[in-house]
Amino acid sequence: MCRIGAIKSKSKFHPSVALKLMRSQQEGHDDSGFAFVMQDMGGIFENYKDLPLLSMAATVEGTRLAEDILREIGFSRVMQWSPNINNRKGLKIEAMPNYIFEVLQYPKSYKHATKQEKEELLIDTSIRLRKTLDEISAGFIYSFWPDTLTLKEIGSPRDIGTYFDLWEENKDLTSSIITAQCRQNTNYDIVRYAAHPFFLEGYTGLVNGENTFYEKNKFYQQKLYKGYIGFESDSQCLLYTLHYMNKILKWPLKYFKHIITPLEYDEIIKREDKEILLRIKASLSHLEINGPNTLLAVTPDKELMCVCDSKKLRPVVIGRNENTVIMTSEVEGINDLLPNRDITKDIYPNERETIIVRNDLTVERWPQ
């Protein structure tokens, strides 16, 4: 079973915090990988929040191809950061030759472009880069979006931390939100893309669970939006559903729960909003999920979100102090990072609620 975690803090922090959060939950690891997404960047990325940041792992050939495509489209490099690689013998990691984290300037023709036009360019470019690299197995595009940095790698989480020098705090690489998982998706082939967290256009999702409606979800989602690709993991579907509902349909977040785990008809008809809920239940029945699932998500507004399946078959706990909120699979992780918090304020979400962590770190519980 996966263990997942999301940390949101008022101050910027280093990915070592995420590694420590997951370390004590290692029973759920199988030394198969480590992945994290950083959002609301600090450190050396602090001053480039509006510019797209490319996170990529590639071969030499893949790197060259990607750079060519970016140049051809008109992107220009503003800043590049490379992790401090510690390639000592005996580390359990299947490293790629290059890890690229670079901030790019939009093409000149986008000087007066709207936010929407820029976003369109980024998703189109991401898809093109991914497709090109996939064709010759030359690398992976993890995210290409402002203020977001992603790393996914195969191997032991401890050794991956050592390889990228992530155990030592470092002020250059910080952010106020980090979501992480210390595992690969071991259900299927070990594919870097299949590791949580998944990211799409400002939305991040990671899931502890098995979405048994994977095929239904996939069949429906693959026609909904060009960005819904890959489907290397059944959990990806939850992210796409969140994106579709909030970004494309522009529905408020509280309706997400009504899509993935709709109330039973007999409960709906007792409610004032029954007409709406029944429409949602019918129209988006192919986005319903079944099976055990806990989703942790980050929205483009940088709020955290947590929902569970309708039978609450997967664990999750939320702990907090004045400065930090942590959502994770098991409480030991929170105990390690926030040992002095008021544990009576810990929240164990139920199967019929949505947890939202606002930017001022207030935690809201919305009953479905």
Partner: protein
Amino acid sequence: MASVRINELHKGDLPWIIEYDESKCIQCGRCTAACSFNAIYPAAETRRTNSIASKNKTERVLVIKQNISLENYCRGCGMCANVCPNGAIKAIRNKDDKYSVVYRAIKADSFKKGGRSNLNTEGRTLDKIKVGRISQMTDPSLDAQRHTFELKTPFGRVLKADKLNFDIRDGEIIETAQLPPVRWIYPVIFGDMSIGAVSWRMWEAMAIATAYLNEVMGIPICMCTGEGGIPTKLLKSRYAKYMILQIASGHFGWNRILKAMPDMTEDPAGILIKIGQGAKPGDGGLLLASKVARYVQEIRGVPKADLLSPPTHQGLYSIEESVQKMFLSMNAAFKFKVPVAIKVAASVTSVSVYNNLLRDPYNIVGGFFLDGLAAGTGAAHEISLNHTGHPITSKLRDCYLAAVHQGRQGEIPLFAGGGLGQSGSFAADAFKLICLGANGVFTGRMLMEIAGCVGNDTGKCNACNTGLCPAGIAAQNDNLVKRLDVDKVAQNLVNYILATDIELKKLMAPIGCSTLPIGRSDALITVDKHISNRLDIQYGC
């Protein structure tokens, strides 16, 4: 030497031969009274006596004889054996039967029968499919007894989320336009058998079971009236909301329905426009005059004559225009508050029809009922019954995948029927079709079997067309109809649905589904490579 006559009907030509044991017979007469086909009669035989003491060289012995007649012949229904106290009589299948050949040769007419196809050349696809994805370990199975399951499916036109015209006000979604009606119903529909095709007792039992399941058991099952109208009293009652009114090319019964509409207190569950039926695609309805009883005449507003629904809905220029017009008028008749669906025979062309309906910009169609070739019928030409039609499984799958291709699955709910439960596992058949993309299923044959139909798919009885149904199910003769106990049939129907409900949950639980697994073909495997390829499901061996 006695002359041998060849060119007439002989006992050996008949499909069933009566085997009679005179030594066990007490001459009670029950068998002849029970035989609705007049296939047997009491007779006296002259026999030579072997007694030396007797003056008479012959004696008269009372026996039961079999009629050798084109009209009054044994259908193998077994009623004689059922009523005989001593087991003195039974019908034996004649493997050398050539009745239908002789019938055609003598009558110069197409051979008709009721019930179902008796060829069974294609085998049953559904029996070669298993529920192969069992949740274990990380996605646990559910507990069919302890967990809750929701067995409801939308019936009505479902719009894509971005076409719902929702508006957001103060963080809440609000509706801004009237949307097509959608009902949430049980995924099993009592199939369309008309008053006339079945006896009033059978029809009433189905209606009682429907109401009981809804109002007492909380199972929102719907019943389709068939094309033969509906009793006015029922139409005006609150129970009308469980009924799907059928309109077909004969429009039988609609005169009364239209007249009663101002007095209706509830909208019906839906309207089903029948274009075709799976057992005899290309044929219209056929109710032979022998079944047009007085009350059938009244409900339908017809004389006592053969009632034939035309094979197509008649239109000025095209069937498309005609159907479109009918959909609009049916939608308008109930102020666009009742789902209007269409029933077609599964056919090579079903996908084209479904694609067209999905693309229809007016969203007039609220359900697509596909009827496969193993469906039953009250009456049909044998040649249609045995040689026309399309198996349901692949066609249902084709339609679902066509919708997937358009990204519009679920917009027009699919309901599948035709031969469900043929090998005794109705719930399993329903479950598999749902996994392949059906929103639900409909059945008529199971209801008849539950009610006591003695027919089968290998030529037993199949005399629904005659009005002489020995079980009183498809009969219109008063004495035969009285054989059917309305309350008992209703009770059995309710029980069967309760059992089906348990069995559906027993299949949902192991695959970890708490709601209907519509389109979850990943849960299925097949032991047949061709089926695997055709239906795009996993092959297992």
